[in-house]
């Protein structure tokens, strides 16, 4: 019993259940004292938030800060001794590498949950008529598929940022280790809340939660809001940490423009999630209060305006897709030179293009609202700002093509996924402008064309790159390589299957298949296409399953790889042994002496250990 209790995650989950009950009960008592009867919805909201706070108490997330507030001395993160072995991954660890892996595991768990939800409603869509789901179930699954995968992507981005960035810039840890652990663990009760929306009636709105539907529908939406709100805080605090780390913790000699390009991508993405995330939190908070207290934000009969919600919501939710893809595009730019053995073409422009996408991203949200009745004079400006995003994105594509040009290409598994990412993201990118120009968007809006376009950007911008990143940095984490054959099966199964789903969706969308509906008219003739898309969807599921099997068995049985497996110039490979030691570069000081991507240039180095350059410490 004590052994189970010492596992942080289990203890914290018990705390969360207790906290939810206490919160809901207290609210019931207060209402009773005020002479009001029991109401489930406010009890759910209060219980949800109190439960999340209790989870953090249970995991030990407040203990360091509590001691500081009480005026006690708190040890620095690197002086804290942590339990050895697998147990530390289930508790409140302050090591950025442990937190990075925790983020990664949560991301993969959510990826499989979100993907499975999609397979359930794809099965429903495989033929016309209703077979296994009713309307509310279908809508709940679609909405949760969206939001669970958004959470998964945010966690995946944080995983890469947390594990790789401090190693790349030679930092001993993140700038704020306690905050870092806090922002990971707060995401766990948040996902519990998010998924429990299914148990309390579900919700009908899809992931966008537009009022007035979200103001009226079943109360599962409140748990959805609470979950997203807390995931948002996780994202904001994680981004804050990454910005400070990249700006303040770089090793000697590493100027901003000789950082590995992935650090630039993470910096750009963090700037968006630090600021814009507040607006989705706010928009959901306002609906939450509108439901609880009858506040008139979005109901026209009570002085509100539903368009306001869309402005606040899309101010985050469009830049959000840049949060998702920028790190992925950074991975492409980071790994491509390693496997092409050539310098990255136009380093400065690629770095600036990440910033360019991030900043232009603030100006484009209106293109989601062309058909929803925004002021007419806003449409054309938003169209132009939207098309402007293609410029920095184009810079990245030309850089990749020029990097590939006349290179000495090698094709290990990470490189396959990089090439897949470039192709799929190109498809996603090229299908974007038709949805960004007003005249065509009026026809394409709310059809499966948008679904196909969006999934191509997400696969090209996140799914393919994160698989590449996992195959690439796996030896750094475990000291073993992932199985090559299984990796290749994964790639050659997933890529065509994905292309079939994406093109299939675009095709039926252009023919008039509306999105977010559980059923369609058999006379439209979409049955065969939908069946093919569903089968392809299952094939993606199978390929990811193969990936998970590979991930698990390679940890024990994979080929041992301790050195610089990919002949990279980056410090985490050229200086650090694999698996990476607990205190990173402690005892292995190095400094930056050259350019990061001068592959193939005789006698050039990016980083050198300090004692070899003759400049003793």
């Amino acid at each position: 019993m004590r052994k189970i209790w010492s596992i942080g995650l289990i203890r914290a989950l018990i705390f969360q259940i207790l906290g939810s009950a206490i919160g809901a009960g207290l609210l019931g008592l207060i209402r009773l004292a005020m002479g009001l009867s029991w109401k489930t919805e406010p009890a759910l909201v209060v219980g949800g938030f109190i439960g999340a706070i209790f989870f953090m108490i249970g995991i030990g997330g407040f203990s360091g800060w509590w001691k500081m507030a009480m005026g006690e001395d708190v040890p620095e993160a690197h002086d804290v001794t942590e339990p050895e072995g697998i147990r530390r991954y289930f508790g409140f660890s302050l090591d950025h590498k442990v937190i990075g892996i925790q983020y990664g595991i949560l991301s993969m768990v959510l990826l499989s949950v979100g993907g499975s939800l999609a397979l359930i409603f794809r099965t429903e869509l495989a033929s016309s008529g209703l077979q296994i789901l009713d309307f509310v179930q279908f809508n709940t699954l679609v909405g949760l598929h969206g939001m669970v995968l958004i959470a998964s992507i945010l966690m995946g981005v944080a995983a890469m940022g947390n594990y790789v960035v401090p190693l790349m810039i030679g930092a001993e840890d993140m700038a704020f280790p306690r905050l870092n652990a806090f922002s990971f663990w707060i995401a766990v009760p948040a996902t519990v809340l998010l998924l429990s929306a299914m148990l309390f009636g579900g919700f009908e709105t899809g992931w966008t939660a537009y009022p007035p539907l979200s103001v009226r529908g079943p109360m599962g939406i409140q748990l959805f809001f609470a979950g997203v709100y807390i995931v948002g805080w996780s994202s904001i605090l994680g981004a804050l940490n990454l910005i400070v780390t990249t700006l303040k913790m770089r090793v000697k000699g590493m100027k901003l423009f000789v950082m590995p390009i992935f650090a630039w991508a993470v910096l750009a993405t963090s700037i968006i999630s630090l600021t814009a995330t507040q607006l989705i939190g706010l928009s959901f908070q306002l609906v939450m209060f509108e439901r609880l207290l009858g506040m008139g934000f979005f109901t026209p009969s009570n002085g509100g305006n539903p368009i306001l919600f869309q402005h606040l919501f899309w101010f985050y939710s469009h830049p959000a897709v840049y949060i998702f893809v920028l790190p992925g595009l950074g991975i492409i730019s980071e790994l491509l030179p390693v496997f092409v053995r050539k310098p990255l073409f136009g380093y400065k422009w690629v770095a600036m293009s990440s910033m360019g996408i991030a900043l232009t991203g603030y100006l484009v949200w209106g293109h989601h609202m062309f058909t929803s009745g925004i002021e007419e004079y806003l449409r054309v400006p938003f169209m132009y700002s939207t098309l402007l995003v293609a410029v920095p994105t184009g810079v990245k594509f030309f850089s990749w093509v020029a990097t590939l040009w006349q290179g000495k290409l090698r094709f290990p598994v990470p490189m396959l996924f990089i090439l897949g990412a470039i192709i799929v993201f190109l498809i996603g990118g090229l299908t974007g402008p038709p949805s960004g120009t007003v005249s065509t968007d009026l026809h394409l809006h709310d059809t499966y064309y948008i679904v196909g376009h969006f999934h191509a950007t997400m696969f090209g911008g996140f799914i393919f790159p994160i698989f590449a990143a996992i195959y690439y940095w796996y030896p750094k984490i475990t000291g073993r390589k992932m199985n090559d054959t299984l990796g290749k099966i994964h790639f050659y199964l997933m890529t065509p299957a994905f292309l079939v789903t994406s093109f299939g969706q675009m095709q039926i969308g252009m023919l008039g298949m509306r999105r977010r509906i559980a059923d369609y008219d058999p006379t439209l003739g979409f049955d065969t296409s939908h069946l093919i898309i569903t089968i392809a969807g299952y094939l993606i599921g199978v390929s990811v399953l193969i990936f998970f099997i590979n991930l698990i068995i390679s940890a024990k049985r994979g080929e041992v790889a301790t050195g610089n497996v990919w002949q990279s110039r980056s410090p985490e490979w050229s200086i650090l042994p694999s698996p990476s030691p607990v205190h990173n570069y402690k005892g292995m000081p190095f400094e930056v002496v050259g350019e990061p991507y001068d592959y193939g240039l005789e006698g050039s180095n990016y980083v050198l250990p300090v004692n070899q350059t003759g400049q003793a410490d």
Partner: protein, 188 residues
């Protein structure tokens, strides 16, 4: 921070903490900005029906509290423990007065309820979110006061005082923008 020995390390840590705090303000400002957008989107050029005298009084109270907060920070940086504690106490009392004025009086006597139209929604949400931040600010100040009594802060090392002072000024700044948006702008 026992393990930080050298002053250079402390200075580096200080720079990191300061940047983190300012990034937090930037993030929070977007939330307050979003509420401001909601106010102008829903009410436009319409002014809320509020008690002008009361609004002016709470605004003055909060501005004066910021003055005392600044005094507290200056005092501790000169090593004046007694003056630092006195100023912190004045700041806390003024902060509580502000809360009492907004939540205790203004909310109770307003001409509209929370569920009465865009006016009620905007007013209670804007003042509510601001009051929540004032409340957290007061909690930070109480912690700082308690640790100050224990003599935890010196003229050289008092980052907690600086951070809570900056937070307090930030909340003040938000009110300086919210006050005209709620009380002064537009026509009844």
């Amino acid at each position: 921070m026992s393990s930080i020995t050298s002053s250079a390390q402390y200075q580096k840590k200080l720079a990191i903490n300061r940047l983190g705090l300012w990034l937090f303000f930037a993030s929070d400002a977007f939330m307050f900005g979003g509420l401001l957008v909601a106010r102008f989107y829903l009410l436009g050029n319409r002014r809320l029906e509020l008690e002008q005298t009361l609004g002016l009084i709470v605004t003055v109270v909060l501005l004066v509290s910021s003055f005392f907060m600044n005094r507290a920070e200056v005092m501790i940086s000169k090593g004046n423990q007694k003056g630092f504690q006195r100023s912190i106490i004045v700041t806390i009392v003024l902060g509580i007065l502000f809360l009492a004025g907004v939540v205790g009086v203004e909310w109770q006597t307003a001409h509209f309820q929370v569920n009465e139209g865009a006016q009620g929604a905007v007013f209670y949400m804007m003042t509510g979110m601001h009051a929540f931040h004032v409340l957290t600010g007061i909690i930070f100040l109480l912690i700082v006061y308690r640790n100050g009594l224990k003599g935890k802060y010196t003229a050289e090392k008092h980052y907690a005082v600086e951070a809570s002072a900056n937070y307090w000024h930030f909340i003040d700044l938000v009110w300086i923008i919210y006050y005209p948006a709620l009380y002064l702008m537009g026509l009844i």
